[in-house]
């Protein structure tokens, strides 16, 4: 299945993925890392071939064929005081995008806040979960799902999915892709502490929706406007008739 040796040779990090857990089946890689007392090392990566309760935002399911894709979580335990937490969120998307560009020369696009698309189809999704106590965030789990070698996606989707195999027209090495993502992510995580604006600029440069007319859907609420920019925390600045709103919720669609 997953060749850990091959992955390890390509891994070029100091701490991300140095503690590595590989398992066949878990409920959710995020939940396990967030609640586990056993796995507590900063940078621990948990890769699972199958998630029985894989999920996205608002408990939406994330389904993935076993053995064909990458579903993994990265545990971060650090002092995040003064860090703009959402730059880690956007940074994870940038790390995945850079990796797909570097390895397969595909054109990757960002969809706010952290979906990764190729030709308007979703190739990867990210969900961060953290826990805070007394106003301090002390643990962050970055959950990443990448469609790698899955040939087709039966079912109905809000955003149609695609895979690297479909776009690159060949099977690719999951080991090489995972190590590339982790290598890039470690560099980006350091930027979150030292140069967070660099992450946001990298994200902006891949977002084609900035400047477009959009609508934001959140349950039964719909807001229309122009996607002006993202601010320093990654909030979407939406220009509506005569005013600007900061948005941190909902699903974004082109109008």
């Amino acid at each position: 299945m997953f060749n850990i040796e091959e992955f390890d040779i390509k891994l070029d990090t100091e701490f991300i993925g140095r503690s590595f857990i590989y398992c066949d089946e878990v409920e959710s890689t995020n939940s396990l890392l967030l609640s586990s007392k056993e796995f507590s090392q900063h940078g621990t990566v948990l890769l699972a071939e199958y998630q029985t309760k894989g999920r996205g935002r608002k408990g939406r399911e994330w389904n993935s064929n076993p053995g064909q894709n990458l579903t993994f979580s990265i545990l971060l335990k650090d002092d995040f005081k003064g860090v703009r937490i959402n730059t880690i969120n956007f940074g994870a998307a940038v790390a995945v995008a850079q990796s797909i560009e570097n390895l397969y020369q595909l054109n990757v696009e960002m969809k706010w806040p952290n979906d990764i698309l190729i030709d308007k189809r979703k190739i990867a999704g990210i969900l961060l979960e953290s826990s805070s106590k007394g106003n301090v965030i002390n643990k962050i789990v970055v959950g990443i799902g990448i469609n790698v070698n899955q040939p087709n996606f039966p079912g109905k989707f809000d955003i149609p999915p695609t895979s690297i195999r479909k776009e690159f027209h060949q099977l690719v090495s999951r080991e090489k892709l995972l190590s590339e993502v982790l290598n890039n992510f470690e560099v980006i995580l350091n930027l979150a502490f030292n140069a967070p604006d660099k992450i946001l600029n990298d994200w902006r440069s891949r977002c084609k929706m900035i400047g477009e007319k959009i609508k934001i859907v959140d349950n039964d609420k719909i807001i229309f406007g122009i996607f002006e920019d993202i601010d320093q925390d990654g909030f979407l600045i939406l220009k509506t008739a005569g005013k600007k709103e900061k948005i941190h919720f909902g699903d974004l669609n082109l109008r």
């Binding site: 967030l34 999920r55 996205g56 935002r57 608002k58 408990g59 937490i85 959402n86 969120n89 706010w112 806040p113 952290n114 990210i126 969900l127 961060l128 979960e129 953290s130 826990s131 805070s132 106590k133 007394g134 106003n135 301090v136 965030i137 349950n219 925390d233 990654g234 909030f235 941190h248 919720f249």
Partner: protein, 159 residues
């Protein structure tokens, strides 16, 4: 009320045999109490006329030494009530998913580490853990509504 006058009153009570002292000036009522076992407290309360807004008073720095009166400003609720605040701007959720059970309800006994809610911003789901032991006496925010940084979410009573 003049802060200097307040300081004088505290000093006066401190040096006297008086254990409790109440003074009222207009809308503001000040109670100074002294107890050698527990640190004394000063309570500020608006006078019974509730149609007018409460007066907020900046208290001098509390003195911790035993038997010396300390000054505590209290805004309407007793000090044994503790607020859990939001560490981020986002949307407040009482359950992990729309159809799931809520994490906690009013009346629940919670301890350190109990998950109380999620605040979500841009696909960052932050679980807020309780950092004290107590009983939930009020949930201050409606499910699914936006919250600001540092906004109180729960009122917890120490037990």
């Amino acid at each position: 009320m003049d802060l200097n006058l307040l300081k004088k009153l505290i000093k006066m009570v401190e040096q006297s045999e008086i254990t409790e002292f109440t003074v009222q000036e207009g809308e503001l009522k000040v109670k100074i109490s002294k107890n050698s076992k527990q640190p004394a407290q000063v309570h500020f309360q608006p006078a019974p006329d509730l149609s007018k807004p409460a007066v907020s008073v900046q208290a001098p720095a509390p003195q911790a030494a035993e038997s010396k009166p300390t000054v505590v400003t209290s805004e309407q609720k007793p000090s044994k009530h503790y607020e859990i605040k939001s560490p981020i701007v986002g949307t407040f959720y009482r359950a992990p998913a729309p159809d799931a059970d809520t994490y906690v309800q009013v009346g629940d006994i919670v301890s350190q580490g109990t998950v109380l809610c999620i605040v979500e911003a841009m696909k960052l789901m932050n679980e807020i853990e309780c950092d004290i032991s107590g009983k939930i006496i009020k949930i201050l925010v409606e499910n699914g509504t936006p919250v600001e940084y540092n906004q109180p979410l729960f009122l917890i009573e120490h037990v």
